[in-house]
Symmetry: D4
Subunit: 229 residues, 8 copies
């Protein structure tokens, strides 16, 4: 790690944020930073403060400029452009990862959310596998990948538009399915509402749903379940 | 046919309705009677007037009392309790039916709409087949019936809840699919809205959608397509 | 078990339903029967057919008349009036139950859904505990019960109105939280929509959500997670 | 055709997409590429891969830059700016086209969707005719064109705002009508919702509806119906 | 007029209502009584108080019991069952009526609202004419009646479902059109929302819209316009 | 007070509810009982338990049967039929009431909610005054009562339909206005949504809003403000 | 008038539009051109074609570039930047104007729509008067202007946010009120929805409503009514 | 104060606005200026006119350019960039402030609205304190600050996403809580709708709600309550 921001001392409180430093103690995992709606300065301040406190950082919805600033200051920062996810430091070493979370994505346009889910689960401690473009309109593509999907302890099924993938998957596997609706689509998809409602009303049990485009939430929950012992 | 209502002579206009007697000439099919929102007297008057003009009648959303009244007056009236569809006389004899319309229904609760579709298509001139309970949560049940579904010139795919059936079917067959959403479900299905949006946003092409629970509309459109030549 | 319906032989197919007898093989659990929207005759037929095939039955949204009919024919039927859940036979013996699913309910009016969740999880193989009336308006009631909630491998947090309970719980425990919105409330709760949206947008990670009033879905998913090993 | 992208060999899988090469076998038509939500690189990769496999390509929602890239590499690429539709190669030669699909558009602002429908139907195998600006506010313009509309085997009726055109057309012709709502309008048209709801609830039978602005879906379904034999 | 309720003297104020006795002075017309949501006692009290003050009464959404009570006490009360409109006394004698308001209704199910509009306009001072069942699905029925519609100074066009009638009419006549959406329909008509949105977004100018099922509002506005001089 | 339920001893916990006996200590006021969604037995049990603990009770949405049961057991129970509000015992004696809360109601149909607000504020410690039927359609009725309204320390302004009353009042008085939307209305009032949105978006400052028909919430908040010192 | 576009001859049809040249004959007024959603070329073509046919033009939602082009070619073009309304030529000379349409606007932000209404009514044949910033939050400003408002034959009342102005005005005047909701506001105004619903559900009769921001529609209808004779 | 705009004399009326100079007399506070939807010229004109009349100005939603113009002309203008709030002159001197309004904000992204609330309350006459980043996901952060929150006469609780903060706070304090929902969030937060509905349906009494992102409204109402005496 590079020397972090010397102007932001560890102890003095930030006026715009309170680092929840006891979160890991309560829940097993450190706080993540949701950057949308924060100014670049605020987000940068929070991330650097967490680093100064020795906390690993997982930040979501990180725009390019903020990513560049953080990567310029922290050697161990990693930025994924497609999902706009940034990590600084590590929470769980590769060798400590356990189980397998499979992320099945219905279409290419669902990959940003899917990848946010995958990278989040990985950061928090799961082995992961991406299975892209297995939407139900060409269902044999899903069946071709069933053996891989069935190896998962937890499946994240991602789709926009009608959001039918989780329901079909849940009828075929023994593991819990986390349904991740995306805002992919137009017209009557109403920004992901169609997918969200479809996933909530699926007649297959074994599904629970996170917010539209909430890849981080899906990955977090999948990892939590995956690491239950 | 029994002697019809002698108090309602053929010629004098009804004050609450205008029989669209030229509809068949313009569109190839006679007018149907949608009974919901009409008083029993109004619906009865319209049906008897059509009979008096020699028109065959297909009436939808027919409550028991109205059905009993009509069946008591017209020998050739047939009432289906599950779908609340009533026919009087016939538009197309059995021997004149053509092609095959398959109605695939996701669950038992979808049968009222599915049956309205099937009986409508049959009345208007199609051979039909019902394939019940082939929802995507147990997708092998759908695959077991694929040979039958593939025999159809037109498929009507009916589902409530997440409404995923039409999208899966459309990816597996060569015929056009009419998607019929139903109000089956609760909570986030919002009276069939989830199914409707799901069907409209399906990523599989070859689907077009009718109103929630509009079995008649699905059957009419399927028959129209089926009989194109 | 009493002698089941001799008129419904095991082999001949029902015209309105296809028992998904291979579901347990694929997913580890047998099919459940959602009774709303089915006629009493249809629901009864399906349940008896499943019994005739030796399948244990979990049926939801069972009205009193149907429950009485089934209980009159099957000695091992059990009906819970508050949640309208009916079981016939058992899938998992008491001694085979594992882990602990805690159901935390915000208010008394949430108990029907909460109990559907609890009984479902129990039927499928989990030890369970109900913690009632711990809504966030009197948050000390929740804190009083935290030791019990923290013993759970999986928490189901149930609430209507603003649906804030899951978010608060998820910030206090290490286990995954299944959020179960209920239709409790009036006005701007819009039949559970407020609770549903609140749970989906919770800023605490570790939450995934099921449909409004879908106690069965919550219990099923919680049990699935609880029994992962 | 120019030499296609030599860096994207035919055999190695794309990590972000799975070409559904068996789609034509199952449904009679090749997969189309929906470009919105895909990065330019992803869309380009998919299109070139399909060309490398000898598949004809129909791509929708193609931005100018992507179109320029593809047209620069493939001699047989054709781009229509108004509808943003791109084709590469041909699926059905002009001489093989059959039947007639008429696209009736209510207003000038509906032409992008209308043209997407027309070009899609043409690409897939139908003769087509555009009839523009025949909205119901000046209904004589529609009547002037009725002879042409009546020549169609299938009519696509396109409208935004109140979406009344399909209902009026369906009462005047013998062919099935595919209703294509557009997002034309403002205020209470809510991005096409008013038109969509209007078309779904039309009291004229013989209509089925596709998603808002889904010209491709309308054209695909119309061609499917048109070519039934 | 019979002797009105002697227990409700003219002068003492009602605790639940304030008769707006200066309304006619300000607006030219007396207050109407909207009875839905009032107890029978409250509605009766208000009506009798108005009569005691010598005001003519037009009351809407009047249930049978209330109507019977009022008709039992006031000789000059008139009740129309279909529209649930009640009048007591007269505001404008038949000979003082002016102009012509035509009420065109799309279907039989729209008649309750249409009739509320017609009777309201008549009570307030307009000659009226009902033209029933001229919905756009059989547009020639509308054309058959155009000469009558064109005689109107103001047209009220009533429709449920897709609500297309006002837009078509407004393109054919010189008079202003008051669009009256009704809750006729099911599914995606969402209680009249589809019709309402359709009327608001009509591309024909010369239309303004009242609330769903607000026949009184339509009739009031039409009469106001009709009697402008 | 009569002898309360001897079968429900003070100490043993209820399984369906936890009396928040420390609420008064934290917030200054005891818990209220919302009875909708509770069985009669549950609501009765909670109320009697609170009485057994010496807590005064304010219960809302109380159906007649429950009211009769409680009034039969507790001498100091008072039930208001219009608002369905029940009190048992008293929290604040008449002589201890302070300040003045004026409840202004737009129409007669808004009185159930208005009265729930008034009785709640009174029970909790405020002097109150009801000003009925001063909706903005006859604005002079409001001006006639302005002197009374201006005497209030807090105004509750209640309205259904377009909900304009609070905005007009807030522009005329110096006290804070609590806006209470009601579900009065039909069609586009969507169960109070129109009034709610209108009140939230009022351009007059000095307004804050409670849930649709939440008279208790309005009265509670008004009393809280009124008694600030 | 400058020489108009010689490249667009009068007779050859435009492929993207059909000038409704018989509209004036049917409805008394020429067609207007709604420019949003049309390309600049299409809008320009339509306007110039209408000019070539000698038709006066009223065009709405005209962007600056289009306005500049038209004004560069037609001497008698007039563009109002605030409302984006463009006229070319005149339909009704100043001396032929009749009656008075008053446009009352609640706030400064409502002026674009208000001005579109005013200029439209003027172009079509009415005398007009703008009364700005008379929203109900400062109701005395409205009362100050009542004498002017009462001089109108028709009032257009414009408001965003809670949209209360039309209801208050309609209770104070004898003329019909056209309610024009605007998209002014944020949050729960949902793009004008709050104002729209408020106006539709107003308890004052004598109001009818046009689409959100549809100043042209309001002005057209007001002029139509104003000029009735 | 610098010399203000000499071109805008005090007396001549603005054509686009009417300064409500009697507002303070009626309500105790001067009019505020909502700048969104006004042109820079209009907003500047209104502000300078108010200054010319000696009125203090609080302006909201002020863009940078407008702020710069005003600050360039008025020495006593103060602009807060985060909340886009501008004040010119003072209404209540620091020494005249009374009581304490605490603004509790759930997250960093809620600070723009929170700060608008705080600065508004301060300008109008309250002492204020900001307590940032105390959302319910890390509830101990809220408990750490409870002593400060309990010192407030009025609490403003601000949150986006699920909006749970006000309900939790209201169960812990004796003062009224003004709930301020923000548009922070994505997907199912639907621009603040989830937070708004959550706050309206909170089961804790003692809460009333303002519009999404309406910091000014919250601060105004809180100050009004705080200064009641």
């Amino acid at each position: 790690m590079k020397e972090v921001n010397s102007e932001i001392p560890e102890k003095s409180p930030l006026e715009y944020a309170v680092i929840d430093s006891r979160r890991e103690e309560r829940t097993g995992y450190p706080e993540a930073v949701y950057c949308q709606g924060k100014t670049t300065e605020q987000a940068e301040g929070i991330i650097l403060r967490m680093r100064a406190q020795g906390l690993p950082v997982l930040a979501t919805r990180v725009q390019g400029e903020l990513a560049a600033r953080i990567c310029g200051r922290c050697d161990d920062a990693r930025y994924d452009e497609l999902s706009r996810l940034l990590t600084v430091g590590s929470f769980c070493g590769e060798e400590e990862r356990r189980g397998l979370v499979v992320v099945a994505a219905a279409g290419t346009s669902d990959l940003p959310a899917a990848r946010e889910a995958l990278l989040s689960a990985e950061f928090l401690g799961s082995h992961t596998m991406m299975i892209a473009d297995v939407g139900v309109a060409g269902i044999h593509r899903l069946f071709d990948r069933l053996p891989d999907i069935r190896r998962a302890r937890v499946v994240i099924a991602t789709a926009g538009m009608e959001g039918a993938l989780p329901g079909v998957v849940a009828g075929l596997v023994r593991s819990p399915v986390i349904a991740l609706p995306t805002s992919t689509g137009y017209g009557a998809s109403f920004g992901g509402l169609a997918a969200l409602l479809g996933m909530l009303t699926s007649c297959a049990p074994g599904i629970s749903v996170v917010n539209i485009d909430n890849g981080f939430g899906a990955g977090y929950q999948a990892n939590l379940i995956n690491r239950l012992n």
